[in-house]
Amino acid sequence: MGSHRRTLAAAAATILASVSLYPIFTGTLWFWGGAGAVCVVAVTGTLTRLRRLPPAVCLAAELAGLLLYLNVAYSSARSLLHVLPTPSSLHFLLVLAGEGFDEAARYAPPVPPLWGIVVIAAGGIGIIAAATDLIAVRLESAALAGLPLLALFTEPFTLSVSRGPVGTAIAFCLAAAGYLTLLSSEGRDRIREWEQPAPGPDEIPDTRALAAAGRRVGIASVALALCLPLLIPGLHVTRLFGGGRPGIGGRGGSGAAVVGFPDPDTQLSRELHTSQAAPVFTYRSSDPTPQYFQIYALDKLTSSGWQMFSQPESLVPASPRLPAPPGATNSTWAAKVTTTVRIGPGVGQDALLALPAPYPATAVFAPGSVRADRASLMLFDPGVRLAGLSYTVTSLDEAPPAQALNNAPPPPAGIAGHYLEVPASYDPLRALAQSVVREAGAKTAFQMALALQDWLSGGTFTYTLNAPTVADAAGLRNFLTVTRRGYCQQFSFAMAVLARLLGIPSRVAYGFTAGTASYGGTWLVTTHDAHAWPELYFQGFGWLRFEPTPQGGAAGQGTANAPSYTLEPASAFPQSPQSLSAGLPAGPVGSSGRNPASLGERLGLPLGGAGGAAAVPATATVNPWAVFGLCVLGLLVLTAATPPCARLAVRRRRWRAARRRGDAALAHAAWRELRDDLVDYGAGYLPSESPRALAARAAASLSLAEPAVAALRRITLAEERARYAGRPDSGAGLRHDSAVVRRAIAAAVPRRSRWRARLMPPSVLTPALAGLSRVADIFARLNPEWSGGTRLGWIRPRRARRGRAGAAAARPAGAAGGPEPPAMAGAAGSPAGPPSPSGSRRA
């Protein structure tokens, strides 16, 4: 009987744990296949347990049953009578499984529901079920049965597939519920088998209360397990088994994590130099003129070129929302663009490390665990196979007018400190940069940037793929002053360096251009569209792309195009910022009040204002943890303040109501107030005590002084007269008497009781807790003795006993006086109550 129950529990646990495999597969075919396998294994296991067979035989029988099941389910056409396996059907099954392994290797999760994969899934789940069944039921060790279940649960983890927070929570809850049910079932069986002279079938102990208690503990534990990881900041997923590709950050956090990254420069040149343009991905975009696709951003200028300075802690999960693009606080001219990218089937696993996405992306919907770099919004999806991957990116297409860009305030210190670093070897180029800007008559940062872009792409330089890669200051000087030939790598390198020398934060982005429009509204991006470009920072707009590389046809990068904001007619060079803002009184900047400064003022956030002298650190935003902490603190304070306030409210209402209703009501109010005070201060009262008896006991046990005793007597007398006399006494002084008594009681009890009475008056708390536990009972069909009983008893008996035993002190333990018949020999039962040796209670 017990073994059947446990078999059922083991099967259920396996099925529930198998749910956590869902991110690996598409469709539900695999699940039903696996559930069927589990059922077959359970039935086989039950049959083997009719006789006491050795465990190995049980396992063999279960596996044989599993094989029979797979044969019937997936290879029945070749079987004898559609049931019995034949050599050809088994061979077919084998072939199917082999195909499945091939398919599993070929497809990135989630894999399509191909027959081979379904067979593998069903077989694997069946094997886990057999192991679970064997361990939990035959070997009677339900705790260890968690190991095969754990293997099932962590399978997506080893395959580097992420479930996402909600999916993880659900899968975890289901798997934990299954396992706990199995454990509980075994524990209950153990208790059923406890009775030594085995009881009759109708005397089996009722373990439902125990199971309910177990359920409560289980639910609490699962809730704790779900919530606790959320409270640990900085705990992000990294893939242990990242398919041989280096994960970014995470491991060790060794500062500049350039290690392990193929140098984007060489990669780019290799891509561009291939004679045949291979398709890389296609996409559909809601923008008729799509933006570039950034893959990575190199933000660290070293003496040997641009490198990626990756900060491990800046990688955050993008699920699906990304962190806000840095600096882009002004969204007036930003349009939302949705791009759906499908990476071509021929793309090898190592060709792209990150997902190409338009900058700045705001949300990405991709399988696996996409993580984003907080600063550059680079997207990394290390868990998936890129071939055939399809994902959707929402991004912003920024097209601010030149005027607004001219008005942009200086960058904050956080940006300036990092993105303006220039090694000394580049310093000689500063004069060149300044001369270029001076020639163009540029005043503002944006004008300088435009001047640089125009200078580089204006015809002075020649676009050719046959140029040496620039990697250091000497190479750059050679490119700028001598050869003046190059492709995007040299141009972007040069513009980014010159911009930094002019005080404009810059970095180099690598990725693809928008590609070419293909049929049916899709765009095709090939290897020849690989590109590099500089991105410059403007406060309020974030990182903006510039295009210094000559564009178009053979004389330039084929599909490159300059961003719209650099193409404004009459780039307004002569105009100074002041005249601009003065000339735009009704413009979007002034009227909408959306410039960063005023926005910042409204939000109360310190932002670098246009005229602000001091640059404010970019990190001066409100820490969410602080907010969370404050909220928690506030809640705690509120919770702590509720009981005393409730007690005060009860008292005031009681007196107010009594005053309206006359003397008798006043006497009753004083009496109730006295009882509540006694409860609050731990003296307690018994419902059976008459007013006089209560007063006598309270006066004696608390050894009250004279004025308090007199007041107590007056309250008692008033209550008695209100109850029994024809005409009650005047209730005039009762409120004062009540206060006197309360003060006297407070003075008489120890400090601990006094403070508890003030902060957590039991007279308010006890009914509240009782109500709560009753609600809890209804809610989870809980058993009264564990929640209601315990919780009530936790407070009430203590009060009562204190009250009675205040003076009575400790009675001898043996005299606890249960109803013991005198005939019993040796009736001195020592009441060593199971969980509490009684002494502790009394002391």
Binding site: T238, A816, P831
Partner: protein, 413 residues
């Protein structure tokens, strides 16, 4: 915290350890799933233990064993009553009584919830095939959880004592003859002979017949005195048991104990005021003879004495009939014992020796061991019978009385 940990079973502790390891790995890898599993594994036993150790209730335990003394081979009923003296309903309790292994396996009970002030009684039977004094209890009560992670055990202190006496073989009442009942000093015959009466009149009590008033004493005392007609007379006897280790071979010591117990119980039933004497002396009486006998014989062990002079001295000082349960005796000891008999009542000697059938014509030609001693005893006026196993005890007892023909003839020779 220590209390919580102490409540964990091995499985619970393993869960905590495994959970801690998983959680640490989960933090350092970092992998939230692993951390979750670790937290779950840790929280499960700790919450269970916390919940179990927080439920505080007090129980009192009363126990009763009926009968408290029983012969080997029979069983007694043990009743245990658990009363909940706290105001909480208890949870599921697993009770286990501590029972010595000689009495069988430990009984276990599940108590699912005793309400406040309520009580629960459960009974079980214990019995033993070997005599002895056994302590049953204390009762242990465990609080368990449904996952098998927590086990809090508390033990009561009260115990019950069960005395398992030797097997009592019912002996039939022999045909009475003058030699059997009473002895020369206090027996019935002396009463019948002297017709002694009214030694001490006593005060009149309501209900006494007027014809019993003893007027002379009434005159002397100034109040109504009546004759005392109920007679206070006693049959005294000494039951002697030879417990010397050397006197018995194999299981015969147990047989001797059984025989002594059976005879003693029989004598008590016959109204004898008897005492128990062993080779080491008289056993100090505790309560009635029957109690003394059974309590002593329940725990008696073979003694290391070689002689039994102490016991024989004790026999000599006391009066009354002597019933001796003997093992192998040397001739000297037999003579000493034979001389211990006083008065007219015959001594009865039961030889617990491996023996063939009882001799038809005197002990001299008897093939059993101890023939010489039997001869000496019989010669001194004792009635002697031999018993080799428990089944023949009743027959031997009858034989002792039925005439003890052989013995008497032996005596006559």
């Amino acid at each position: 915290m220590r209390k919580v940990f102490g409540a964990l079973t091995v499985r619970g502790r393993s869960f905590v350890a495994a959970g801690a390891a998983a959680a640490l790995c989960g933090v350092f890898i970092p992998e939230p799933d692993l951390l979750r599993i670790g937290v779950l594994l840790m929280a499960l036993p700790l919450l269970s233990a916390f919940g179990s150790s927080r439920a505080r209730y007090r129980l009192s335990c009363a126990r009763r064993v009926t009968p408290a003394r029983l012969p080997a081979g029979q069983s007694a009923e043990l009743a245990i009553r658990l009363s909940n003296v706290s105001r909480l309903r208890t949870g599921l309790l697993l009770a286990e009584d501590t029972v010595p292994y000689e009495l069988g396996s430990r009984p276990r009970f599940v108590l699912d919830g005793i309400g406040a002030g309520g009580s629960r009684e459960f009974r079980y039977r214990v019995g033993s095939g070997t005599r002895g004094k056994y302590t049953i209890g204390p009762l242990q009560v465990r609080v368990a959880d449904s996952f098998g992670l927590v086990s809090i055990t508390r033990s009561f202190t009260s115990v019950s004592t069960l005395t398992v006496t030797p097997r009592i073989i019912p002996l039939s009442r022999p045909l009475l003859d003058g030699n059997w009942l009473g002895d020369g000093e206090h027996g019935r015959r002396s009463i019948a002979a002297s017709g002694e009466d009214d030694v001490a009149p006593r005060a009149y009590r309501t209900g006494d017949g007027m014809h019993r008033v003893h007027w002379r004493s009434t005159a002397r005392h100034g109040e109504l005195m009546v004759r005392r007609e109920e007679q206070h007379w006693r049959n005294t006897a000494s039951l002697f048991l030879d417990t010397r280790r050397g006197a018995y071979t194999g299981p015969l010591f147990e047989l001797a104990v059984t025989a002594a117990a059976s005879i003693g119980v029989h004598m008590a039933g016959e109204g004898f005021e008897a005492r128990l004497v062993t080779d080491t002396g008289e056993v100090p009486p505790q309560g009635t003879f029957r109690d003394t006998l059974l309590d002593t014989l329940a725990v008696i062990r073979p003694s290391r004495h070689s002689g039994m002079s102490a016991g024989i001295d004790a026999l000599t000082t006391g009066g009354g009939q002597i019933v001796a349960v003997l093992g192998l005796l040397g001739a000297g000891e037999a003579r000493l014992l034979a001389a211990a008999r006083r008065g007219t009542a015959p001594g009865l000697a039961l030889l617990v020796v491996p023996a063939p059938a009882a001799p038809a014509d005197g002990w001299a030609g008897w093939a059993g061991q101890g023939g010489a001693a039997a001869e000496i005893l019989a010669g001194a006026g004792w009635r002697v019978a031999a018993v080799p196993d428990a089944a023949r005890l009743a027959a031997a007892w009858q034989e002792l009385h039925r005439g003890g023909a052989a013995a008497l003839t032996g005596a006559g020779r």
